[in-house]
């Protein structure tokens, strides 16, 4: 049945468009990544593939429909890295992965022989301080939504001994504290905006790409003899066959999944705020004092007499529960329900603000 009466919305004064950024805190605890759903490197929430190029991490055993994909982990190095060598396990795949991430996130440049712009440990684009070997943590869009919020990313990595109950006897906290919402500390490249991840000693240890939702963790976290990790981690990974391995030994001599296992075991927590950009249209439904005071509701009358009146001079009253938004053809395109009835009579007017988010 068609609604008899509607009011026209003036597109200049009754309709407004706004954009709102919504942020959620995303805490990822290390016990979810390693230990809760299996022992040490194994886990029902860890999915390895036959191609062996990356590892997927879920928040619950991934065979369950309740599981949510958290992120993918992989590792790679550039061909100019000292780590590259044909004898390495999965050498080609590690090269390809680095190149793929570099190509997508950094793009190509005329200043390199191969044209590929490498990751750098600063915001300069001069090729100095390249990150040639690294982990890639690619977060699911379910978590990052439209992008990671700047100045909110933090990852705590254990740099202690593998042999300890946990590797968290020594930790390194990497943050993007140098990045600000006003574009300071941020560089825009092919893959969007990125900032440098610094440790507590202000040494660059990686990058975070906000729109792409990808963290690049430099191998220097585990191999550097400088600050933070001390003299480097001698037992970065305990290979099932060859025993303890340094970062260098693991990235060259272990499969990608092995290196991913090692990093996953060493992540104590990850935290960031995501961002959802909400574009809204606000309709100001202005209800004048002299309209919408009567109802076509069948219960409004009893024996044709209006129930809410005793005599003709009584004010008519209606109770609004629903706002319908219509097209010019009279089609109901959107509807809003009030959580409680609103009394409407000729002594009041009101503006009901209906916001549609896209």
């Amino acid at each position: 049945m068609p609604v008899v009466n509607t009011e026209v919305l003036d597109t200049t004064s009754d309709v407004a468009t706004t954009t709102t950024l919504l942020h959620e805190t995303i805490p990822i605890t290390g016990s979810i990544l390693s230990g809760t759903y299996g022992t040490l490197t194994a886990g029902d929430n860890i999915k390895n593939y036959t191609h062996g190029m990356f590892q997927s991490v879920y928040d619950y055993p991934y065979l369950s429909s309740s599981a949510n994909h958290i992120f993918d982990l992989t590792v790679g190095f550039d061909e100019t890295s000292g780590l590259s060598g044909s004898a390495n396990v999965q050498n080609a795949k590690k090269l390809n992965l680095y190149n793929q991430f570099a190509q997508v996130l950094m793009g190509y440049t005329s200043s390199n022989a191969d044209g590929l712009k490498k990751f750098e440990s600063d915001l300069n684009l001069d090729g100095v301080g390249s990150i040639n070997d690294c982990f890639f943590v690619s977060f699911s869009r379910l978590l990052t939504k439209d992008q990671i919020k700047r100045n909110s990313f933090s990852i705590t990595i254990g740099t202690g001994s593998w042999a300890s109950p946990t590797p968290f006897a020594k930790n390194m906290v990497l943050t993007d504290a140098s990045a600000s919402l006003s574009d300071q500390g941020v560089k825009n490249v092919n893959g969007g905006d990125y900032a440098v991840l610094y440790d507590a000693h202000n040494d660059a240890r990686g990058l975070v790409f906000y729109q792409a939702g990808i963290a690049v963790i430099s191998g220097s976290v585990f191999s550097s003899a400088s600050l933070g990790a001390g003299a480097g981690v001698s037992d970065f990974y305990k290979h099932p066959t060859w025993g303890n391995q340094t970062w260098r030994q693991a990235i060259t001599g272990a499969a990608i999944s092995g290196s991913c296992d090692a990093l996953r075991h060493r992540i104590q927590n990850i935290s960031f705020n995501n961002t959802t950009e909400i574009n809204s249209k606000i309709y100001f439904c202005r209800v004048p004092h002299n309209k919408f005071n009567y109802s076509a509701n069948p219960t409004y009358v009893s024996g044709s007499k209006i129930r809410v009146k005793n005599v003709a001079s009584d004010n008519p009253v209606s109770y609004i529960t629903t706002v319908g938004l219509y097209s010019s053809a009279g089609e109901l395109l959107a509807v809003a329900k009030l959580s409680e009835p609103l009394r409407k009579d000729p002594t009041n007017d009101m503006t009901i603000r209906v916001r549609l988010d896209y």
Partner: protein, 330 residues
């Protein structure tokens, strides 16, 4: 849908309807108007005799829990609030089915029947105790038809021309036309009042007239609010049945106790496939029931039940009419 949380501030729960999402996918989503509804409200809870005074009259209504929004268009605003600016209105026209005359279809066991073909009509009359008045014959274009009379159905007001003008006409409450919503899967069109004819009686109680001429209505539009429904706009005749000087009871002709407004009437044209005496259309299986001994006479019938909605274009007064399409099977 659940109820909305009404424990704190007033919130709005807004959703796009199915139609809205479709329009968005088509790229022609444009909102131009708004309307207000109160489908959740039962105004009979308005207690004008509350012992604590007028501040408590609408206590029950204001505590009505409100359901979340539906995405189906027809489940949200079926009636709506009205833009009438006159604040001194005390009565609003109601719609009532008039079955006083043999041309005016009457209800049978809680529903209005339409026999889809001549053999069904014949069988209903000869073997199942139906009278002519108890069914529409879809094989003809003559009455009986469904008559709906509008007016102030209250004994507070005398059934006079002056009251009709004062309480309805001057108040802008006259429904001179109506919209009729019918299921387009079952009906092809409607027949509605043709020119001529009147609904009237002389002041001395003589010469009662009932309009009976019907014409096919064109120009149906897809119902904007009901899925699978078409909307027809149909006319009406002035309700000129007033109380008589002679004391003749006009209740023999009119079902509206007070001043009348208009009267309209219509027949529904069933789609041809449903009329076949030989082949049962699968719509009977899909939308209704088949081979049913409805009247315990041994006769088996196929039938489909549907609702027909008539709405006054001025006041939004509406009436839902249950209709049964019936076919003699064996």
């Amino acid at each position: 849908m659940a109820f909305l949380d009404n424990s704190g501030d007033i919130i709005l729960d807004a959703v796009l309807t199915d139609t809205g999402r479709k329009r968005m996918a088509d790229g022609n989503f444009k909102i131009t108007n708004f309307g207000l509804g109160d489908d959740d409200i039962n105004y009979s809870q308005y207690n004008k005799n509350h012992p604590s005074g007028s501040a408590y009259y609408d206590l029950e209504i204001l505590q009505t829990p409100v359901l979340q929004a539906f995405t189906q268009t027809n489940a949200n605003i079926n009636y709506g609030l009205l833009n009438i600016t006159n604040t001194s209105i005390l009565y609003m026209p109601s719609l009532v089915i008039n079955s006083k005359q043999t041309e005016q279809q009457t209800i049978k066991s809680g529903i209005y029947y339409i026999g889809v073909n001549a053999s069904t009509v014949s069988r209903l009359k000869t073997n199942n105790s139906f009278t002519d008045q108890q069914m529409q014959d879809a094989s003809t274009n003559t009455t009986p038809a469904l008559y709906v009379e509008g007016g102030i159905n209250s004994s507070d007001l005398a059934k006079t021309l002056s009251n009709q003008q004062g309480y309805i006409g001057s108040a802008g409450l006259s429904n001179t036309s109506y919209t009729l919503d019918i299921d387009s899967r079952i009906f092809t069109s409607v027949m509605a009042p043709a020119n001529g004819g009147a609904f009237s009686i002389n002041s001395d109680g003589s010469n009662f007239q009932l309009p009976v001429a019907l014409r096919d209505m064109a120009g149906a539009s897809v119902s904007s609010n009901l899925q699978n429904y078409s909307t027809y706009r149909i006319g009406s005749k002035a309700n000129a049945v007033y109380q008589t000087d002679s004391g003749t009871a006009v209740t023999n002709y009119s079902v509206i106790t007070g001043p009348g407004d208009t009267i309209t009437y219509f027949k529904l044209n069933v789609i041809d496939n449903l009329k076949s005496t030989v082949t049962r259309d699968n719509l009977y299986d899909k939308l209704g029931s088949v081979n049913q001994d409805l009247f315990s006479t041994g006769d088996l019938f196929d039938y489909i039940d549907t609702m027909v909605y008539l709405t006054g274009t001025a006041t939004g007064a509406s009436i839902g009419i249950p209709v049964r399409i019936i076919r003699y099977a064996s």
